[in-house]
């Protein structure tokens, strides 16, 4: 029974890790603009993040060490430092987006401007990190994040033409008036939103912190192979409600309030309540994860003592860095920079830097000196190499597309 509970909680954490402000905004934006024409990107992203999270988890379980710890040793200090700089920058930008996401969700519930919530949300995140029992908080927001299933239920309630939906999802096409560069810009943004690097770092660090070993491989696989696909279903649900309610009206999503509008249309105030609870849980959880991931990557690289379960005094540098990242993010958010634009840039740059995350994982997962019999088999390598090619193409195309499309305008 305890094993089932542990598995369930791990799955919930994976779902929560998949859904964050980047996903919420990008899914709604794309559903309103392209309908179900990018469901294929979600499917691709779910398989990719599952493959690489399982790999990173397996590496951590087999070696007792995290990805960044091994990158420096295996691939050299220079590569590791470049990797670290890119990953930290994307993580830090994502912290800004998640912080704004939580504040925006509070604004929807209270109509108090989100900027007034930013300092309070930052303080709450600090208190959770500093004082509260992290594992219990992780479980709480994991469970509450399930409220986002209101989007999936709303699809049923809105009574769609299922045949047309299936046709649109399986026959993606660039809409008239939209160029291919813009279409692929948003495809990359979606991929970045759903294959965020911090998920892999956080998962890998969690395996080490919980002292999982090769005996826990089944747990790692259940968490990733069930958790992420369920997260993918949620993502498709958000795209679908936007497709059903916003696209026919010509509504382009520019605010979080529009993401929620279809659910309010379907279920009224109770739907709104579920959506807000789910958004707060998902984005607050992601805020904590990205904050910690920013600390993990640096701590692992420099060999600092680290861990969300460690007392702050014992891992002072790690906690200081996580908190400084949070405070800097709050400062940036308070400059009134558009939170939706920051979110799009964060997911897009995340996609552009995916090769930095995935290349080292694939190399180490194939190294028998570290993993022995647990190193990659043919299936893992087939998908690993396939996705590496995909993310490398994405990484090369990202900046030219960003310029050519003026960030999707």
């Amino acid at each position: 029974m305890k094993k089932i509970a542990t598995l369930a909680l791990g799955v919930l954490t994976a779902i929560g890790g998949f859904m964050d402000i980047g996903d919420l905004v990008t899914d709604a934006l794309i559903g309103a603009r392209y309908g179900l024409g990018m469901v294929w990107v979600t499917v691709v992203a779910v398989v990719g993040i599952t493959v690489y999270s399982e790999m990173a988890g397996r590496v951590a379980a087999a070696t007792g060490r995290t990805t960044f710890d091994l990158i420096r040793e295996r691939m050299g200090a220079q590569f590791a430092l470049v990797n670290l700089a890119g990953s930290y920058a994307v993580n830090a930008l994502t912290v800004v987006a998640e912080l704004c996401g939580v504040a925006l969700a509070f604004e929807l519930a209270t109509s108090v401007h989100y900027l007034l919530w930013v300092p309070l949300v930052a303080f709450l995140a600090f208190m959770v990190l500093w004082k509260m029992p992290f594992e219990q908080m992780e479980r709480l927001y994991g469970v509450l994040g399930l409220a986002l299933f209101v989007f999936v239920v709303a699809v049923w309630h809105l009574g769609p033409d299922w045949g047309q939906m299936l046709h649109d999802a399986t026959h993606p096409a660039v809409p008239q008036g939209d160029g291919r560069p813009t279409y692929f810009f948003y495809a990359i943004a979606m991929l970045g939103a759903q294959m965020t690097p911090y998920e892999v770092f956080f998962f890998s660090s969690g395996v080490v912190e919980h002292k999982w070993t090769k005996d826990d491989l089944s747990t790692i696989r259940v968490n990733t192979m069930i958790g992420y696909p369920i997260g993918g279903i949620l993502a498709i649900g958000i795209q679908a409600v936007a497709y059903l309610e916003l696209k026919p009206r010509g509504i382009q999503v520019e605010h979080l309030s529009q993401t929620v509008l279809p659910v309010v249309s379907a279920f009224g105030k109770i739907g709104l309540a579920f959506a807000i609870v789910g958004i707060v849980a998902a984005t607050f959880g992601s805020l904590l994860e990205t904050m910690l991931s920013a600390g993990y990557t640096v701590a692992h690289h420099f060999g600092w003592r680290w861990g969300k379960l460690e007392p702050p005094v014992a891992a002072a540098k790690f906690f200081t860095l996580s908190i400084v990242t949070l405070l800097t993010a709050a400062g940036i958010a308070l400059t009134t920079i558009d939170p939706i634009k920051i979110t799009i840039y964060a997911v897009y740059l995340g996609a552009a830097t995916l090769p930095l995350t995935y290349i080292p994982i694939l190399v180490i997962a194939n190294d028998r000196r570290y993993l022995g019999e647990l190193s990659n088999g043919r299936l893992a390598n087939f998908f690993g190499v396939l996705y590496l090619v995909v993310v490398t193409i994405v990484g090369i195309a990202a900046l030219p597309l960003l310029i050519a499309t003026k960030a999707g305008l």
Partner: protein, 153 residues
């Protein structure tokens, strides 16, 4: 200035330009380009108007909580004002473009004003009055869609 310093400065300048470029609004060089800008402004305003209309519909039925509806209307009004401002500063290249500007700007400003009325009603929690307040938008959205049709193919 040494060669490496010059290269560094050039790289930074290029990076700054890349970031700022999307924010720059240029003049319209031709009637065709001006019609495209008018159509794009109308399309953006349709999105804003339809958001406000859907929120008004939901509010009138009692489905939307007042704080949420207030946020939607405030954001819609801000977006509408931004669209009006962005279009109004584009220099029309010809007399016919100038006439088009007057027509389109009138519709955009009317839409923005109507959304402002919805925002006021929302903040006063007068949600039951929203169908009445949003009536002008029914006609305006049709006019905006006709402007969208001006987009050159």
């Amino acid at each position: 200035m040494g060669r490496s310093t010059r290269a560094r400065v050039s790289a930074w300048a290029a990076a700054v330009l890349l970031v700022l470029a999307p924010a720059c609004v240029g003049p319209s060089r031709s009637d065709r380009d001006y019609r495209r800008k008018a159509a794009e402004s109308a399309q953006a305003m349709v999105s804003t108007v339809e958001t406000a209309r859907l929120a008004a519909e939901v509010a009138a039925d009692g489905r939307g909580a007042p704080p949420y509806i207030a946020v939607v209307m405030r954001e819609s009004e801000t977006a509408a004002q931004s669209i009006v401002t962005s279009f109004s500063v584009v220099q029309p290249p010809s007399e016919s473009a100038r006439r088009l500007r007057r027509e389109v700007l009138t519709v955009l400003e009317q839409a923005s004003s109507s959304i402002g009325e919805l925002r006021i009603a929302a903040y006063r929690a007068e949600l039951e009055t929203m169908p009445e307040v949003s009536k002008p938008l029914d006609d305006l959205v049709g006019k905006l869609r006709r402007v969208m049709d001006l987009a050159p193919t």
